[in-house]
Every structure is written in structure tokens, then in C-alpha cells.
Symmetry: C2
Subunit: 336 residues, 2 copies
Amino acid sequence: MTTIKDIAKAAGVSVTTVSRALNGYFDVNEKTKQKILAVAKELNYSPNTLARGLVMKKSKTIGLLVSGMSKENIKDNFTFEVLCGINETASALGYDLILFNTNTTKQREKTYTQLCRERRVDGAIVQGIRKDDPYLKEILESDIPCVLIDIPIQTDSVGYVTTDNVLGAKKAIEHLIQLGHKNIGMINGHEGAYVSEERLKGYIEKLTEYNLPVNKEWIVDGAFEEATSESVTYKLLEENKDMDALFCASDVMALGALKACHKLGKTVPDDISIVGYDNITLASYCLPPLTTIGQEVYKIGSEAADLLIKMLEEDPTDLCRYVDTNLIIRDSTTKN
Amino acid sequence: MTTIKDIAKAAGVSVTTVSRALNGYFDVNEKTKQKILAVAKELNYSPNTLARGLVMKKSKTIGLLVSGMSKENIKDNFTFEVLCGINETASALGYDLILFNTNTTKQREKTYTQLCRERRVDGAIVQGIRKDDPYLKEILESDIPCVLIDIPIQTDSVGYVTTDNVLGAKKAIEHLIQLGHKNIGMINGHEGAYVSEERLKGYIEKLTEYNLPVNKEWIVDGAFEEATSESVTYKLLEENKDMDALFCASDVMALGALKACHKLGKTVPDDISIVGYDNITLASYCLPPLTTIGQEVYKIGSEAADLLIKMLEEDPTDLCRYVDTNLIIRDSTTKN
DNA sequence: GTGAAAGCGCTAACAA
DNA sequence: TTGTTAGCGCTTTCAC
């Protein structure tokens, strides 16, 4: 494999000059530069980023800590869409991505800091970890630049990209209230998720705004899973016969709720309206197509990459970015 | 950041000894070893993989060349599922993944070899590139260990993981024939895909096996896209009123075909049976749920990672692996 | 069982 | 404008 040493020898100059020419410095004679470039091309040279990273203490690499990459999460294209957004933006800005898997026990043996330092990543993007994940604590204590997705916590070295989940939930509930619904239950995710906390907040605030009662028994967790959601919905509707609408904190859970309704012989939306969250691909294909809160997931990813790289290169003052949500009305909601 | 030098100083030994102790060599006194390990832990040491990679000429990194990571491909969870499989297996075996994006022009400036060599990846896994992609030629000419997904070409350093697409297509057609269909059209992908070639082969062979005529006009390309498929299906069915079944080389295209049928006022499956390919998540949710050829996509990914790592560490003789397919019968096919 | 020294490929003072 | 030299953090002969 060709090194700058080889080029230096072939071009009859020193390695320093080669390095400078290759890196586009201006203090090198145009002629020598051309010569060096020619030799480099001829010898089919590729720079060794490991060596460069070693001396520069920069790797032009972003570490990706993603929890939703296991078999179970395949239905949910949220993770993938975020990934796509990160990938395109990062690569457009000259950074490569390195994937850390937080599921396998193998990786869990290492701490977040170890993961990042071993690979000498310049920064990290973290998606899908829970509030109580030990990694989160570490991330916040570490000084490695990091962007959190959907976790609105900021430190000197940690920023975040998220949507306004309170507002998103409010849009959903507003829609249901406008349709005349008064007994609105909620299938939330789980305690480990900030988005759950916020969507619940939006739900409560909007009900309160309309002087509708907030009933604790009407709020249950569905673990962001279809099956769990199905079973809790079943129970919820059995115990509250007058419930006329359901707000689910994710489309996947709305799918479960749909199944439960079907089994109970309830027609959606005539007997009960359902609003989901996320606007996953399935949302427009299921029966009935889901009214839901859409997020520009791809944009969340690309904003995250953009923010992190800005943090690495320009240290911006604002480390928080919000991406829009919008209510998408389909056929799972109707007038009461 | 702690280095082995720091450890050496703190433990009162040489860097050599530290290196040996940390790497679990046996020619180091148990006591010194324990001392070194203790110091390392206390100083919160993380090895620098860049430095190690530089001297060892191995990076324990696998390069991922994936084309299906753009906005358009989000519906299709094939790519993501492959990714998940690769990720879990690679990380279980101690390898990290580095993502190369082949879409952005930025990356296209570099050749495959450059991409791999710059990052000093030990090997690469390539998914979703076309037969005529210049990268493919390079991959086959290069001696970088590589596993191709769904491209059955082998060289000394290149292996592949795929399914038997001829057989898969045959299963689909067999099913349709058993249901009494005789006028079976095919929406294929495009010329750039090996899987298209093979699925077409399976289609033709099975028809021939039953002495059914193979009609060139009945075979059209849908570019693996929903919209394209919809428009070609429209035309196909208009021009061939007696067509009673359709075999689509992907579920996404089957979705398009479904739409076309709907617009033409044809009921699936009563007027026309449709079989897809891939068993994407949507397949079981669309209307009617699709009969399709399922692939263990996750397994394709994990096999690819496993094969590549075997190639890196043990150089196996067999560089080809096949993953099963199976016919999944849902409601888009019925007796004629 | 342990250490000194060389070197992986690169960048960056500092000199010339 | 160019070259000399040191050093990034690590592994690995080779000698003791």
C-alpha cells in the first residue's frame, strides 16, 4: 500500500512537502504540487485515516448509539429513517459513521466513554435510549460532544434534536375534542421515555384547557409495543365502556389498539376514534388508515448530524433544535 | 487521555509489559499483570484503536456499502433488516461497522477501494448495488475481502449471501398454477438486479414445466418502485384483458399493482391474483394482505457478517451462503 | 519475565 | 518554498 513516503521518494521531495501538497496547503510550489498529485494518482495512493487520526486527534467519525436495531423493532421504521437522515447529512459534510450496538451484551461490557474513546470518534449521536439507561448518565457527565435524539437535556457538550411532543399531543387531543369526544383515554409508552412524559403532559394540558376531567385510570402504558398495547387496550375498554376516543403515543401501539377494538367488536372510528403518533409507513395502510401525528423523522436525523458537526467545528451557542409535527387526518377518527 | 505510557509509569514497568498484560499474553508475571490491570482501571484507560490499527494493519472494522439508505427507500424495510442482522452479528463477534453512503455525490467521488483503504476496514459488505454499478467491477477486481448480498458472484476474496431466487419465483408460480391460473403476468424489477434475472428465470422455468406459454408481452419492469409498478400494471392489464394472475418481484411493486387493479375496477383476488416478493411489513397490512415469498432478511444480514468475519479470520473454502425462502399465503390469491 | 528500541503513516513545529 | 525531526499510541522483535 502506497504511503506518502513512497510518493516523496518517487517525486524527489520530502514527506512534509507531500503532506502539504496533498492537504492543499498554499505554501507549496504549484509545480511541485502538480508533480506530487500526479505521482500520488499514479501510485494509487489512499491516505491512511488511522495514521492521520492518531496525530490529529480527530477522526472525522461520528459514533452512532442506536437501540432500535434489533429484530423486534423492524416494524417501526422510525429508527431507520433517523439513520438515513444522519447518514446522508454526515456523509455530505465529510464524516463517516460508526455503528455501536447497544443491544448485545458484548458491547454493553463497555461504557459509553470507552466505546467513543477507543474509536476516537469526534462526537456521538444517541437515539432510543431510556431515561434510566446508565449510558445517559455517562453521556451527560462526559465531555464528548453528543447530540441526543428525543431527549431534551443539554449540557456544555451535549445538545439535542427533538420535536415538541407536548404540542404534538395537544394537536391530537384538540382534534379529538373538536370531533366531539369527551372520554379520551391514552395509551402511553413507558416511563423510560421522555417523549412519553411530554405527550402525557400535552394530553393533560389540552383536556384541562377544555375543562375536561383527567382520569388516571384512563391512562395506561403500552410499552411502545403492539402486543402490549393490544392487551392493555382490551382491559381499558372493558373497564371503561363509555370511552369514545383513544390517543396512542405511537402508531405501533395504535395498531395494537386497533386489534383490541376489533376483538371487542368495536368499530373504529364509529364506536371509538383512535389517534396514533409517528406516522409510520404502516399508518396509511392499516385498517382503517390511522389519524396520527406526523414527524419529519428524516429531518430529525439530518438535523442531528448537522448540529453535531457544527458543535465539532464551530461551537454554536444553541445546542437545541426542534423539528415540526403535524396532524395527519385519516379514517380512524370521526365525529362523536 | 491515558495511554499505556502513563500506565507503565504508574505501575513502574515498561510499555512493553503493559501492552502484553493488557492483551492477555501469558509470558507476564501474574502479579505484575494484576498490578497493571488495576492501574489501567484506576486511570480509566481506553486503548486507542487507531494506534493499534496503525501498527497491526487491522482495524476490526467492517465497511458497509448500502445503497438503500435514502429517503425513497424507507417504505422498504429490507435494507434496515439486513442492517440489523449485520450489526448484531458483527458486534457479537467484536467488529464495528462503518457506514459508507453510496448515494451522495460526495462519496461517489471516491472509489470503492479508496473508501475501504482510507478507513483501513478489514472487509466490506455490499448491499443493493446494481449489476452495472462501477463499484461492483472494482469490488471484484480488488483483493479486499467482501461479501455481496444478493449478487451471486464469487472471486478469491469475494463471497456472497443470497436466497435461491429461481426457486423463490418457482414457488410463487407453482402456487398460482395450483390455483388454476394460466395467464400469469410478471412485474419484474429492473435489468440492474440479479434477483430480477433469477426471478424471471424461475417464472419462465415453472411455466415451461407446466407447458404454459411464456409471453414476452406479459413481462414488464416496474423498477422496484410502487409508482412505476402501478403505471406499468395499468398498461399491462389494459392490454391483456385475460390476465388472471400477477407475479411481482417485490412487495412494494405488488402494492403498486394493487392500486392499479383497484383503479381498473378489478377485485383482488377474485378478478386477479397477486403474489409479491419479500414479505415486507406492509405485506400483511395492505388490502388484501399479500401472498408473497418471504425471505429471512435478518438472517441474510447476520450470515453476511458471519461469512465475512470467517473470511477474515479463518479463510473458509466456501464463500457462498443461501438463506431460505418460503411461500406465505394470504388473501391476494385465490382459485381461478 | 521484562525492557529498549524500532516503526506503523501521518502531521507539525522549527530551521534553513 | 522546502526539509529535518519529533512524536501521536501502540505492537513487536530482540536482547537481557
